[in-house]
Structures are given as structure tokens and as C-alpha cells.
């Protein structure tokens, strides 16, 4: 029997009993749609959490002075126990790394800020223009630090929202001169209120150029170097490159610790990814149920069509032909169900995205593929038994049935 004839024959047979066919397709469609929608929800949850985390800079690699891990004996340790400091030169050197997108040095100290007789103790962060992008901060007013030579900072400051409120109240803060320590700086920008984040509270921060901060605290060391990698995948290479560059600059001694914010994120990613797989597995049970339904319906179909099978045998159909006829029908019904379920699932996921725009309910490709493939496989696997039964029917007895 030719393939085209086989398909046409199976199609006609399926059309011959519309109720049976539509119920079967529906069962298969619900199974596949369940896989698509449930994985869309689970993966949406994963992405939602990741998005929330990347708001504070998920591609961040942080360099801090000193070694927190125990290493082997190094002759350098015998002579000097204090690690080398991180410097602005170190930070600038990191820009050479291919996996690195941005670098922001950070020098931190406490000082006093005063204006018009009001005085407050504040944390002063010395950094560069890149800081705002690396930490994903937003400005409420004005501009951030001007870019330029890292070693020559202008006398300007960006202040946190809370400091603005406390020092200026209802007055205009932008453009005002304030005293920070023994320096007079001009306020050029005000950060948007963010509340407590991981690390420091930017609402109570005064940000000045790194050179100014170092002069203020009379030191040339950095507290941290914040490095933004080129992307999620570039975090690991960035970490390795950063470690290597600093090691070379520090006479071969690994005296800094490089940490990634991504480590936390990876854990979340793993947990939620596992959840997605688990949910897909649960949804796959409905596919197995649909498969068993395929088998039942096909068995009923074989019984109902016994006389027809007998006739086909009398007309010269081989066992293989009969088997193929039933397998083709099972495969076609499964395929139709899978496609319908695929469309239904995507429509449902789109609806969820419409209703809750913040929630990226998109089914992962692997889940969709696995769902459709499982539907086809179960349909075929559970179609084998009925097809075999049909093929092995005795023609004489089959023909007698009517």
C-alpha cells in the first residue's frame, strides 16, 4: 500500500467516526497543552525570579582584597603578611579582559556631610561614572558622576534620596555646594529611592569620584572592584580573567578574592529549573493517560471494524498492511492532538502573559518538543497492540461478523 493511500485510508477511517476521533484528539491535546502551560508557568516563575535578581546586577563579579581561601605556601607570605592593596590601576587593568563589559572601582569610608549648619555622618563611596550602570541604579534628578580620568575627580557628588530629604527638606538640592569631610563638592545628581538592597543602602550614600574619595581618606586603596561581565555566560570567564590579571599584577600572588553574585542566582536557577522539569513530568502523566486512551479507543475500533479487517484480508491485504493502517491512524490522531495541544498551550500561555505582564510565562522549547514527541511516541506505542491484534485477526471469523 502506498504511503499516500495509507494516510488517506487512515484519515477516512478517522473521519468515519467523528465522536471517537474528536474525543481522542481532545485527550491528547489536553495532555500536550498541560505540558506546555505548566512548564510555561514554572519557567515563567524561574525567569521572574532571575529578572528580579538581575535588577541588582546579575552579571556582577566582585573583587575584594585579601584572600579568603587557604592556599599553598608562598614565599611572599613569609616576608609580608599583609596582602597587596587593590588600586585604581588594578581596576583599570581589568578593562583589558575580553569577558568584562564594565569596571567600577569602589573606595568606601565614613565622613561628615554638612550644609547650612546641618551635619550628618554618611558613608562616602568613591567610584566612577560606570558605577550607576554596573549597580543598575537610577537617578531621580540631575546626572551621575562625569566620566573622564579616574585619577582626577571633579568636586561633585551624587547623594542618596534619604540624605537629600534630611539635609535639604523641601529645598532644591541640585547644584548646591556641600561640605564632605574637608572638601566642598557640588551636588550634581540625586539617586532614586531604592530601599535596602543587597550590600549597602544607596539611600544613605554619598557618591563622589574615586580620586576625590581617596584624597579625602588619604589612601590609595580600593574597597572593592565591581566588574560587570558581558553576559550570564561570560561570568565564569570574567572571573577567571580577573583573577589572572590581578595575580599577574601582584607578582604572581593570588591575594584577592573574586566572588560572583551569580552563585546565588545559579542556585535559584537550579532549584526552579528542577521544578520546571518536575512539573513537566507531572504533566507527562496526563500524556500517558492519553496514550492509554489511544489504546482503548483503537482496540474498540478494531473490534468495531472486524468485518472490514476481514474484508481487507480477503481483498489481499497483508498483515503488515493492516498493521500499518491502524498504526497510521493512531499516529495521525496523536499528531493532530499534539498540534492542537501545542496551539492551545501556547494560547493559554499568551493569555497568562496578557493578564499578568510581569510574569514571563513562556514554555521552554525543550518542554514543548518533549511534550509533542511524548504524545507521538505514546500514541504510536499504545497503537501497536491494537494494530497487532487487527493484523492477526482470522479472516474467516472476521468476515462472519457483521
Amino acid at each position: 500500500m502506498r504511503t499516500a493511500d495509507l494516510i488517506r485510508f487512515a484519515r477516512d477511517a478517522a473521519n468515519g467516526s467523528p465522536l471517537r476521533t474528536s474525543l481522542l484528539i481532545l485527550a491528547m491535546a489536553i495532555g500536550v497543552a498541560a505540558v506546555v502551560v505548566l512548564t510555561a508557568l514554572a519557567d515563567g516563575a524561574r525567569r521572574y525570579v532571575l529578572n528580579q535578581f538581575s535588577a541588582i546586577g546579575s552579571n556582577l563579579v566582585i573583587v575584594l582584597p585579601g584572600r579568603s581561601q587557604t592556599g599553598g605556601f608562598n614565599p611572599g607570605n613569609a616576608i609580608t603578611s599583609t596582602p597587596r592593596d587593590l588600586t585604581i590601576d588594578d581596576a583599570q587593568a581589568l578593562l583589558r579582559a575580553s569577558a568584562v563589559h564594565r569596571v567600577a572601582p569602589l573606595a568606601v569610608g565614613t565622613s561628615e556631610i554638612s550644609v547650612g549648619g546641618r551635619l550628618r555622618e554618611v558613608m562616602v563611596a568613591g567610584t566612577t561614572a560606570e558605577f550607576i550602570a554596573v549597580r543598575r541604579l537610577t537617578l531621580a534628578q540631575g546626572r551621575f558622576l562625569s566620566s573622564g580620568d579616574w585619577r582626577r575627580g571633579a568636586s561633585e557628588a551624587v547623594i542618596g534620596a534619604r540624605i537629600r530629604d534630611e539635609l535639604f527638606g523641601r529645598e532644591e538640592a541640585l547644584g548646591q555646594l556641600v561640605r564632605v569631610g574637608d572638601r566642598r563638592v557640588r551636588i550634581v545628581g540625586i539617586l532614586a529611592a531604592t530601599g535596602q538592597g543587597l550590600g549597602m543602602n544607596t539611600d544613605e550614600l554619598v557618591i563622589v569620584p574615586v580620586a576625590l574619595a581617596q584624597a579625602m581618606f588619604n589612601s590609595n586603596t580600593l574597597f572593592r572592584i565591581l566588574v560587570e561581565a558581558n553576559g550570564r555566560e561570560a561570568i565564569a570567564p570574567a572571573k577567571a580573567q580577573v583573577s589572572e590579571i590581578i595575580r599577574l599584577r601582584h607578582e604572581g600572588e593570588q591575594d584577592v578574592t573574586v566572588i560572583t553574585q551569580d552563585a546565588v542566582l545559579a542556585t535559584f536557577d537550579r532549584i526552579l529549573g528542577t521544578l520546571t522539569v518536575a512539573v513537566a513530568g507531572i504533566a507527562a502523566i496526563s500524556l500517558a493517560v492519553a496514550g492509554i486512551l489511544v489504546m482503548n479507543v483503537m482496540l474498540v475500533s478494531v473490534t468495531q471494524r472486524t468485518a472490514e479487517i476481514g474484508l481487507l484480508k480477503a481483498l489481499g491485504a497483508t498483515r503488515k498492511t493492516i498493521r500499518n493502517v491502524f498504526l497510521t491512524e493512531a499516529a495521525m490522531l496523536s499528531l493532530a492532538g499534539a498540534l492542537l495541544g501545542f496551539a492551545l498551550g501556547h494560547a493559554a500561555a499568551a493569555l497568562i502573559r496578557q493578564l499578568v505582564p510581569a510574569f514571563p510565562a513562556l514554555p521552554p522549547d525543550w518542554a514543548v518538543l518533549a511534550g509533542v514527541a511524548t504524545a507521538l511516541a505514546t500514541g504510536l506505542a499504545f497503537g501497536v497492540l491494537p494494530a497487532r491484534r487487527a493484523a492477526l485477526l482470522d479472516p474467516v471469523q472476521s468476515l462472519a461478523r457483521r
Partner: protein, 241 residues
């Protein structure tokens, strides 16, 4: 008379119904030459349908040999037998056995579809068959839209579309009124006139009497073998009769 088409020797067929053994066919020796018109008669349970199923390779004997056109077909595998059915044997049934969801033309084409004949060739042969059996304007009708006589004409067209050497008809007029039955018999006999071997199973004596050779069966045995014409039955086979 042509060459022997069917040679049965010492055919036995036993059915086991619970504890009892039913001898459906007992030591059947039969020779039918190509182009013969044979009727098989007998009461219900005499084994005539079993004989027909055996001749049509739908059933296997428990012992004995069946040679179809000189080839021993009892030892063939199920799929080889299917091929022989496809190429050499056409069936006409009492209850027509048309596929209800297919049109008349599609029902006629079914044996060619199963045999894998290309669609272009099929279309031409189906058109010819529809013309031959006066079904041109019934081509797209489904069986439930056809009269009994039309259904049996579709069935005959289907049985002959592969140009078989042998047509087996099991009570072909059983579900038809007298006039339509007469018409169907004339079609089958016309077929025999073109050289096709025709074997008709019936319990209607009048119908059976139309055949040139009549076999009478009782209790699984061949009771009578009488030729209506002067020819001695089985002559070409060289068997003692």
C-alpha cells in the same frame, strides 16, 4: 476445456468446538479446470462455506493439498497467500461487505489501493469498471445511498478489478429480491463467459442448477458431482471420476 486451475486432494478440515470435533470437510478430492462454472450446494453446516474459504485461501486445511494453477498454496505464508488472493481471487459476499465510509468508486478501487497500484492507473480501471456495471452516475455515492442490486454490482466490480482468474461467490443473491438476484447472476455468468472461473455457493436449488457443474455437499463430504453438459467433470485433471 482449459488447464486445471484448482486441484484439491484429501482435504480435511476439523473444527474444535469445546470438547467435540466437527469434521467440516472430509477427504475432499476436487479438480476444477480454468473457465468452469461450478455451483456448490448443500444444507447449512454441510461445509460448503468452509470449502469456499479454503478455496479463497482465507482458511487452511488440516491436511491434504491444494494446488492453485499448478502451485501448492497450502504451504505458503500468510503474506504470500494474501498476495495470491490479491492477484488471482475475487470474492463476492452475501452481505456485500462494502466499506461504508468509502464511495462506490473508492470501494471498487480498494483492492488496487491495497496492492499499491499507482493512482493514475487505478482511475482508468475504476472508470472502465463503473461503465461495465452501469454505475457511472453512482460513482460518488456511499453504500447506504445505493440499492441492494447496485451494492452487489459494486462488490462484483471490486472482485474483478484485479482481473482474477477465480471468482468465489458466497450466496451472492441471498440478500436480494428475485429480479435483482437474477440480474446479479447474469453479471456473474457474463464474467464466466469471458473465461473467469466462477464458483457459487448457494442453498437455492434453482440457482445452483444454472451452473454447468454442480457439487452437492453433505456432512463435509462431496456427495454429488454432476455436470450439466456432456463434459465429464475433472476430465482435464486426469483424476479418476
Amino acid at each position: 476445456m482449459g488447464a486445471p486451475l484448482i486441484e484439491l486432494s484429501a482435504i480435511e478440515r476439523v473444527f474444535h468446538l469445546g470438547d467435540s470435533r466437527v469434521h467440516a470437510l472430509q477427504s475432499i478430492d476436487l479438480c476444477i479446470t480454468a473457465g468452469e462454472y461450478v455451483s456448490v450446494m448443500g444444507p447449512s453446516g454441510s461445509g460448503k462455506s468452509t470449502l469456499l474459504n479454503l478455496l479463497g485461501l482465507l482458511d487452511r486445511p488440516d491436511s491434504g493439498s491444494y494446488r492453485l494453477a499448478g502451485r501448492d498454496v497450502t504451504t505458503l505464508s500468510a503474506d504470500e497467500q494474501a498476495r495470491v488472493r490479491s492477484e488471482r481471487i475475487g470474492f463476492v459476499f452475501q452481505s456485500f461487505h462494502l466499506v461504508p465510509r468509502l464511495t462506490a468508486a473508492e470501494n471498487i478501487a480498494l483492492p488496487m489501493v491495497l496492492a499499491g497500484i499507482p493512482p493514475a492507473q487505478r482511475g482508468e480501471r475504476v472508470r472502465q469498471a463503473l461503465r461495465d456495471y452501469g454505475l457511472e452516475n453512482r460513482a460518488d455515492h456511499r453504500p447506504d445511498q445505493l440499492s441492494g442490486g447496485q451494492r452487489q454490482r459494486v462488490a462484483i466490480a471490486r472482485a474483478t478489478i484485479m482481473q482474477p482468474a477465480l471468482v468465489l461467490a458466497d450466496e451472492p443473491t441471498g440478500n436480494l429480491d428475485r429480479t435483482t438476484g437474477e440480474e446479479v447472476m447474469r453479471l456473474l455468468e457474463a464474467l464466466n463467459g469471458t473465461g473467469v472461473t466462477l464458483i457459487v455457493v448457494t442453498h437455492d436449488g434453482a440457482l445452483g442448477a444454472r451452473a454447468r457443474r454442480q457439487l452437492l455437499m453433505a456432512d463435509g463430504k462431496l456427495q454429488h458431482d454432476r455436470a450439466g453438459s456432456a463434459d465429464r467433470p475433472g476430465e482435464a485433471c486426469g483424476l479418476p471420476t
